[in-house]
């Protein structure tokens, strides 16, 4: 001891009692105060961890409520997200980013004929959409028909018979062909007599045999099958999406139906005396009229130099789900311009998209997820009450410790911080276990029950935040009570 004190005297040659008390503050220490702000906090965390480790079982049981709460939150969020992702995919299979442009309603003498009755859309509009709308990924015109398709001794009327362009498949999210290939732009230009059929047609007309290279007759026009579409199944409305036949729109319009939807319902037409098996149409006409010749009156009425053949509908797809609204606006503007529609005039076309449907299904899952989340939140709340309860007990138990800490210089806020940090650490610890267990549950669910799950970093972040808030919220009152103790009373507490 004498040695120890001698060495000190060498470094500080002042009188011993002065030196003993002279370490309270120096410039170096003031500097440190700014640099090492994390140090007191680190000490607090270490102290709190020690206190929690002193009674591991109790700490575990205390935080169990938080563990269960966070676990449920994570599991529910992940399973919910998985469900909505699957739902998103199934909506996407209908062509989720789909925007349908319908021609406007015709009206004659005050009688509105309903949407799609006035032929106002042209292939030009498709080009306008493609060039003027950056949010539109692809656009395809369509000409519809409903006619008997014949192959050998079998016949069938497909639910959907469309004349369109090759990009139609991409727009409807129909990316895979089972066999053969899609028709090309070349086929569209030349009005080649080719078609792509869905699996239902293969089943009905070809007995499931490969139809590639074989011909079907529609309205007595032989059309070669060059591709078979992949299976898509029924859509949300229950319509068989595989009952489909696609041809280039030029073929459909000029060779097959030679008319627009307005007057075509060939199932009815064929039953009338009009066109029973007349072989006159078996061979193509000498040339294709892509452009209908306008009459003099039409020329007078419509100052546009040329007007292309009408199409029944235009299908367009937005770049992404989020940009559907933008794409709709852009199409609206592009078509208004190309149709010379002035402000205040009624549009001669209608735009439809799937957002309503997407929203409806989305809101259902969101509702369910939120409901379950609310229950999980209640569990968390109960867990928080548990934390508060045990922290109150702990403060009472450790009154003498608090007294001692205060006697050796702990201020009220030091004690407050100590117990608050303890509660928060307890919650964060519970959250960590909960996150691991929750992930485990969702992984188990996906493995055992085959439910789709999606890892949700947002849920993990949120649950850490929530447990932090619970720790502070429910830890504050006990910590505050501890900080308000009087050192002498606390020291004497039995």
């Amino acid at each position: 001891m004498t040695k120890l004190l001698t060495t000190r005297d060498e470094t500080m040659p002042q009188s011993s009692s002065l030196r003993w008390a002279s370490d309270v503050s120096s410039p170096k220490h003031t500097f440190r105060r700014f640099v090492f702000r994390w140090r007191p906090f680190l000490r607090l965390c270490v102290t709190a961890t020690h206190a929690l480790r002193r009674n591991v079982l109790r700490s575990l049981l205390t935080t169990l409520g938080i563990v269960i709460g966070i676990m449920s939150v994570i599991a529910i969020m992940e399973i919910g997200q998985g469900a909505s992702a699957t739902l998103g995919e199934s909506i996407q299979s209908m062509g989720s980013n789909l925007i349908i442009v319908m021609p406007g309603a015709a009206s004659a003498g005050g009688i509105e004929m309903g949407a799609g009755t006035m032929p106002t859309l042209t292939p030009d509009d498709v080009n306008a959409i493609l060039t003027e709308c950056p949010s539109v990924l692809a656009a395809a015109p369509s000409v519809q028909a409903r006619m008997q398709v014949v192959h050998g001794s079998k016949n069938w009327v497909p639910a959907t018979m469309l004349g369109t362009t090759p990009s139609y498949l991409a727009i409807r999210g129909w990316n895979s062909l089972d066999e053969g290939e899609n028709f090309t732009e070349q086929d569209v230009r030349n009005a080649n007599k080719v078609c792509v059929v869905g699996l239902t047609i293969v089943k009905e007309l070809f007995d499931g045999q490969s139809p590639i290279g074989k011909s079907v007759r529609i309205n007595n026009v032989p059309i070669r099958v060059i591709g078979v579409l992949g299976r898509k199944g029924a859509n949300v409305m229950g319509m068989d999406q595989d009952d489909v036949l696609l041809t280039p729109w030029t073929t459909m319009k000029n060779r097959v139906s030679a008319s627009t939807l307005g007057s075509v319902n060939q199932s009815v037409l064929t039953s009338s005396a009009n066109g029973v098996n007349s072989f006159g149409d078996a061979y193509p006409r000498s040339f294709i009229e892509l452009y209908t010749t306008p009459t003099a009156t039409q020329m007078m009425n419509t100052p546009r130099p040329q007007r292309l053949t009408n199409v029944d509908q235009i299908f367009a797809s937005a770049v992404s789900m989020e940009r559907i609204e933008t794409a709709v606006d852009e199409i609206q503007q592009a078509l208004s311009r190309s149709h010379n529609i002035r402000d205040g005039q009624v549009d001669d076309f209608n735009l439809r998209n799937m957002t309503e449907l997407t929203k409806m299904f989305g809101s259902t899952t969101t509702l369910m997820t939120n409901l379950l989340l609310a229950i999980a939140m209640i569990a968390l709340l109960v867990g928080g009450v548990g934390i508060m309860n045990i922290m109150l007990v702990s403060v009472t138990e450790r009154t003498r410790e608090i007294g001692l800490r205060m006697a050796v210089g702990a201020k009220g806020r030091d004690i407050l911080a100590q117990f608050l940090v303890e509660a928060v650490l307890l919650c964060l610890f519970g959250a960590a276990i909960g996150i691991v267990l929750g992930r485990g549950i969702s992984i188990a669910v996906s493995k055992l029950a085959g439910w789709p799950v999606a890892a949700s970093p947002y849920a993990i972040l949120a649950s850490v935040g929530v447990s932090l808030i619970i720790g502070i919220g429910f830890g504050f009152y006990p910590a505050w009570r501890a900080s308000k103790l009087d050192p002498i009373d606390a020291l004497r507490y039995e």
Partner: protein, 231 residues
């Protein structure tokens, strides 16, 4: 060297309130302690000597009178100001040591450093605490928990804790009350050594004349009043 006294108590009154009844413990105590003095406070139990020590140690507050500690009037100090005063200027050895169970001797000795401003690094803390534990003769017991230490050793840890912030004033409440005579003697020698080598001002509360004889001056407390002082 300061010429003033480290402690100046002027007519200090302490009254405890038990429901409607006011119990006077200190009835007007005035005393002075000079720098570097070693003083014993003697008195029978219930005489108010422990209360006096608590007031001197700024753990308890006085009901009336003034208390100047190291030329500062601490009577009007706020709770927080008192706390940092206790931390920086005062060392307190409690009668029953008040060591934290399940904390090593080293950690116990380091406890006041947690509330020191500015806070030291862990290494500096350990250096300081082990230096002091060496000083009190516990170099080989630093990792032991209080339950693994004898009474004398526990008292030494408590002394190390009291000295860790290099206080101006060391207060000890019955430092030998729970110890056998041999250990008591060792502890008292330690106190004397500290007093001589460091020049630390010390106030020991005791009811044992043998202990009081180690001090240079003895102040007798009786019924909440200073009954006399002997050198």
């Amino acid at each position: 060297m300061q010429s003033h006294n480290i402690i100046e108590l002027n007519n200090v009154v302490k009254t405890y309130q038990r429901g409607d009844v006011a119990i006077p413990v200190l009835k007007g105590v005035s005393m002075e302690v000079a720098h570097g003095e070693m003083v014993a406070l003697m008195g029978a139990s219930g005489s108010g000597k422990s209360t006096l020590l608590n007031i001197l140690g700024c753990i308890d507050r006085l009901s009336a009178g003034t208390y100047w500690l190291d030329a500062v009037d601490v009577t009007r100090f706020s709770k927080d100001e008192l706390a940092s005063l206790r931390n920086s200027k005062l060392g307190f050895c409690f009668q029953n040591f008040h060591l934290q169970p399940r904390m090593s001797a080293l950690d116990n000795a380091m406890l006041p450093l947690d509330y020191r401003e500015p806070i030291l690094s862990r290494k500096e803390m350990v250096d300081r605490a082990s230096e002091l534990l060496e000083l009190v003769g516990l170099a080989d017991r630093m990792d032991h928990q209080p339950s693994q230490l004898s009474g004398g050793q526990q008292q030494r840890v408590a002394i190390a804790r009291a000295l860790i912030n290099r206080p101006r004033l060391l207060l000890a409440d019955e430092p030998t009350g729970a110890l056998d005579s041999k250990t008591s003697h060792e502890i008292l020698e330690l106190f004397e050594q500290l007093h001589q080598d460091v020049g630390l001002t010390m106030i020991l509360v005791t009811h044992d004349a043998e202990v009081a004889s180690h001090a240079k001056r003895t102040i007798h407390v009786r019924d909440g009043l200073i009954a006399g002082s002997s050198s």
